[in-house]
């Protein structure tokens, strides 16, 4: 995972509220078996016209938006399906951070685990950011993770919350699985005093494999 320390970028504004993960990446693109190459499906329902050509009115298709790394999203971003593909698609397009007033829980966790920083701001800052971008689409912001600060276009700063563990992982680019693996002896101890409630392996012998597909 690429470490996240500070980032200065112009913003891609998407004021829609309650953007769910079905909009971030529609289900027809979930048949993939790897994580790469999903950037082209990001917001596919809005980004492409029914004939598959880019919708010139959609923000991501505007030439000046290319290369920007921060999505300024509307309230309550990432609700709905747990698909981590949503995070992979945002990162595939080039985003490294998303700003909103609130993130759905599963999306927030998924983002942190992949090094995409969800920045939670208060309502007022959120609205000011949209006004700034409306007035000048090229304003820049800086995200300073060590100090948990968002530096706004007028030079003022606001802080944003993040738990110290996730922050540490992001700064160092650490995979959280490493942490869990370190603690496996504790898991073993837990399992000794808590025997499994079920054993599904009894099903193994009863399950015939699929017939070979006809090609």
């Amino acid at each position: 995972m690429e470490p996240f320390v500070t980032l200065t970028s112009k913003l891609v504004p998407l004021p829609n509220e309650n953007v769910d993960t079905d909009q971030i990446i529609p289900a027809q693109y979930l048949k993939v078996t790897d994580k790469v190459g999903l950037g082209k499906y990001l917001f596919a329902g809005w980004r492409y016209l029914p004939d598959g050509s880019p919708n010139p009115d959609f923000v991501l298709n505007r030439p000046e938006m290319q290369g920007r790394k921060v999505l300024l999203a509307g309230n309550n971003f990432g609700s709905g399906s747990s698909r981590e593909h949503a995070v992979w698609a945002l990162q595939g397009w080039g985003f490294r951070a998303v700003i909103s007033t609130r993130f759905a829980d599963i999306f927030y966790n998924n983002a942190l685990k992949n090094g995409l920083l969800p920045v939670v701001v208060d309502e007022e800052t959120h609205q000011r950011l949209f006004r700034w971008v409306d007035a000048d689409p090229n304003v820049e912001i800086t995200i300073d993770l060590p100090n948990q600060k968002l530096c706004l276009p007028d030079g003022t700063e606001v802080t944003f919350p993040i738990d110290s563990f996730s922050k540490h992982c992001l700064l160092k680019g650490l995979d959280q699985l490493g942490y869990l693996l370190e603690h496996l002896p504790r898991v073993e101890a837990y399992e000794t005093s808590h025997p499994p409630r079920v054993d599904t392996t009894v099903l193994l012998t009863q399950v015939p494999p699929s017939p070979a597909p006809r090609s």
Binding site: D22, K31, V32, G74, G80, S164, L177, R197
Partner: protein
């Protein structure tokens, strides 16, 4: 006596393996359910790191999202879907995980098969790479959806890192009127608190109206907790729960059953325990509920009118409402009763169990699907399908002119070719009316199986209470 605890707190405390200051808790997972869409990258991660599955016996895989429901043949699938299900099959073989593939007579939607096998039990922690894992909370299990990274974590360590959520009591009081169902209760809740209302919280559903629900209705209620923003929804186990579980294949037997009962009876929230938030809804005043917009919180009583965005003071909410009206091609103040519809979908992990199908059949019986309307009825599992056929429900559906399908997610997510055409209206018993959820440009109206069946036989949005009794 020790501090009174809620049901959630008891399960949480019982599963914390370790908690370091400043870090999220390491939470032990009793049961991990897997399907084809959100698992391939997790298995790939294990292979890259040289890791094994720690507890294959606490894991079960099924195929549901991308498989065809018109029949069971690879020729009915596109190449990517075939690759996805074959990848799951290969991964399960390599890592020793039991799998119900699409030819298996126990296959079904992941959240339907857990309960019917008795794998879902009170007091457990259950996860799946799927947000509707909240369904299993109906048994008093802490069950929630996780992302693919977390699927990998659970495969490798049988644990995940979790920050402790807050608690939210949802109390349903009163008696449900005839024709009003658990689906209407949950839609009414989401309309009340909004789709973000439960973010950061776990719901516990309480009150006499919840106690009176059967297990399948409780599953419907918990299923849509996530649509209210809560990752999990719980119902305290009681005699209804125990009766349902008693004869299920994976339920403890003999002495183990007695011991389990003793444990389970200690789970309900202690008197005096408090919740971080609460809301009370009187169900005796509920009507059947339908959605008019593009998220499950945009819902109205079936005889009601679509709200007017001009009366909404918050400019962003106003914009969201305007956008929804535009997408759905509805007008402010419009009544939806009598609005023509094109498709009816009865299925999904919300409403594809035997009780749901029986309710729908009650309306279809002796009636015909309205001309020009397409009706898909997709049972939640092979077991539900067999039961429905044993009761003759399939004949009622087919004689009415509905399509009777093989089990799967089908038009709930439209990954497998079962989908709406742009602009079509669909009354659906599924759980999400997001833009394009049932096919690009498709317009979804969420409803109970009764309301969906009423729309099917009349060709328009119809109050099911006018067709029953």
């Amino acid at each position: 006596m020790s501090q009174p605890k809620t049901l959630f707190e008891k399960i949480w405390d019982d599963h914390v393996v370790y908690e370091e200051p400043g870090a999220p808790a390491i939470l032990y997972i009793d049961l991990h359910l897997i399907h084809e869409v959100t698992s391939p990258q997790a298995f790939q991660g294990l292979r890259e790191k040289g890791l094994r599955v720690r507890r294959p016996g606490q894991t079960l895989a099924t195929m549901d999202h991308s498989i065809p429901t018109v029949g069971r043949d690879f020729s009915l699938m596109d190449a990517m879907a075939v690759k996805q299900v074959q990848t799951l099959e290969a991964n399960c073989r390599e890592f020793g995980i039991p799998l119900f593939n699409m030819f298996d007579d126990r296959q079904g939607i992941v959240h339907v098969i857990g309960p019917e096998l008795g794998l879902t039990q009170p007091g457990m922690t259950i996860v799946c790479g799927d947000s509707h894992t909240s369904t299993h909370g109906a048994f008093g299990a802490l069950a929630f959806g996780i992302g693919t990274s977390e699927v990998e974590h659970v495969l490798a360590t049988q644990t995940i890192l979790q920050r402790k959520p807050k608690t939210f009591e949802v109390r349903f009081e009163g008696t449900l009127p005839e024709g009003v169902t658990a689906k209407d209760m949950i839609l009414a809740l989401i309309a009340t608190i909004g789709v973000g209302g439960g973010v950061g919280h776990v719901f516990e559903y309480t009150g006499e109206a919840v106690r009176r629900l059967n297990m399948e209705e409780r599953l419907t209620l918990c299923n849509m907790s996530i649509e209210g923003g809560a990752r999990a929804g719980l119902i305290a186990p009681d005699d209804t729960t125990f009766e349902y579980l008693a004869d299920k294949p994976f339920a403890p037997k003999g002495k183990a059953w007695e011991e389990a009962l003793e444990r389970w009876r200690r789970l309900p929230t202690d008197p005096g325990a408090t919740y971080d938030k609460s809301v009370t809804i009187d169900v005796s005043r509920l009507e059947p509920v339908i959605t008019w917009g593009i998220n499950p919180g945009m819902a109205i009583p079936i005889t009601g009118r679509i709200p007017d965005p001009d009366k909404e003071p918050d400019p962003r909410k106003r914009r969201a409402m305007q956008r929804a009206l535009e997408y759905m091609n509805f007008r402010p103040g419009q009544q939806l009763l009598g609005h023509p519809i094109d498709v009816v979908f009865i299925g999904s992990c919300t409403n594809a169990r035997i009780t749901d199908l029986r309710q729908a059949a009650q309306i279809f019986k002796g009636r015909k699907v309205a001309p020009g309307v397409r009706v898909l009825i997709v049972p939640g599992s092979q077991q539900v399908k067999r039961q429905a056929e044993a009761e003759g429900l399939d004949r009622i559906f087919k004689e009415a002119g509905a399509e009777w399908r093989e089990p799967g997610c089908s038009m709930c997510i439209a990954m497998n070719g079962d989908r709406l055409e742009p602009g079509q209206y669909c009354v659906s018993t599924s759980n999400r009316n997001f833009e394009g959820r049932q096919g690009p440009g498709g317009r979804t109206i969420l409803a109970s199986p009764l309301t969906a069946a009423a729309a099917a036989v009349t060709g328009k949005i119809t109050d099911p209470r006018t067709l029953i009794g």
